[in-house]
Symmetry: C2
Subunit: 199 residues, 2 copies
């Protein structure tokens, strides 16, 4: 006794997604059968469209329909700052904050010896090219994640860019706003003390 | 600044799945963009196919491509036993056990006053019809979940079927095989003591 072919196929497909195992995939597949026709059709089309119509911006590596992306094409943005992120989705998080008006650059990952990823596997060459071509560039803000890999990548980039006379900064580490000191881990507390500011 | 339309659509679609919120949907959508072309195409087709090619068996309510389903159509199966489950996927769990060779019946849910679901919302009428039409029927095994709703539904079915002179049984409750008494909850322990068997 096997699942009918269409549902077995769908379970297989759901299992290809990150964090979804056999049981979750089965649950999702059975849920799909009970979904509205329109929703399933829209889902199916969105999958193909996302894969077919989206590309990486040739300048910054952001995900976009047009090339260059909306941010790179917007000449009203501050051309003297570039904020470097690991993933394209991090750009959206920064944009939601509404306080940064400069440019972005997406590395598409971080250096990770465990996964065998070195600087040559990241979108770094095009960053250096951008910096060299833009005489107005004043500051590179490195916004890689606060993980050992993110820190190492930030350090690497900083050593690469600083000699060109461009200021390199890193996002501050410290307590989350609204968080309790009691529940902060030691590393975060250490960073919060280290980076304390005068009142 | 918005997500490009194709990815916004895909995030919306992922959010329609159970247990997937905005953040998970965004993660899955960005993951999809990096998936292999073939996998995304297969996923897209599987969604449409599962919705289009699968139906409920008109006899037992199982999910199937053909009608009646493979189990109802198989005359070598024991026609004197019917096992009642909440969901079509529960049939697969039972079949994996390989020890039950009778028929099934899917309720498509349980009675739940909180959700406003009564017996009339379940696939019960067709169960009664099946029992009436089948003079060989000896036993109805109720395998609803061990939840208050599952118990109430089992009790309701039992009162409905017993007067017809058909034996009604319920799956045993007790300790999971391989589990530790230390970690069993009181209700399970009580059921295990109550249902103790002679050695």
């Amino acid at each position: 006794m096997q699942y009918p072919e269409p549902i077995a196929q769908l379970i297989d497909s759901y299992m290809k997604l990150p964090g979804i195992g056999q049981k979750s995939a089965t649950r999702l597949a059975f849920f799909t059968i009970d979904m509205a026709d329109d929703d399933v059709t829209a889902f199916s089309k969105a999958l193909v469209s996302a894969k077919r119509d989206l590309h990486y911006c040739s300048i910054c590596g952001n995900i976009t329909e047009s090339d260059p992306c909306a941010i790179c094409a917007d000449k009203t943005r501050d051309q003297s700052h570039v904020l470097v992120v690991e993933q394209a989705k991090d750009i959206m998080v920064m944009e939601k904050m509404k306080e940064y008006h400069g440019l972005y650059h997406v590395l598409h990952g971080v250096m990770s010896p465990i996964e065998g990823k070195g600087p040559e596997d990241l979108n770094i060459t095009s960053l250096i090219n951008r910096l060299q071509k833009n005489p107005d560039m004043k500051e590179v803000i490195i916004a890689t994640n606060a993980t050992p890999e993110g820190e190492a990548t930030a350090m690497y980039l900083s050593r690469l860019i600083k000699p060109a006379g461009i200021k390199v900064t890193r996002l501050a580490h410290g307590l989350s706003v609204g968080s309790d000191i009691e529940y902060a881990d030691e590393m975060t507390l250490f960073k919060a003390v280290e980076g304390r500011t005068e009142m």
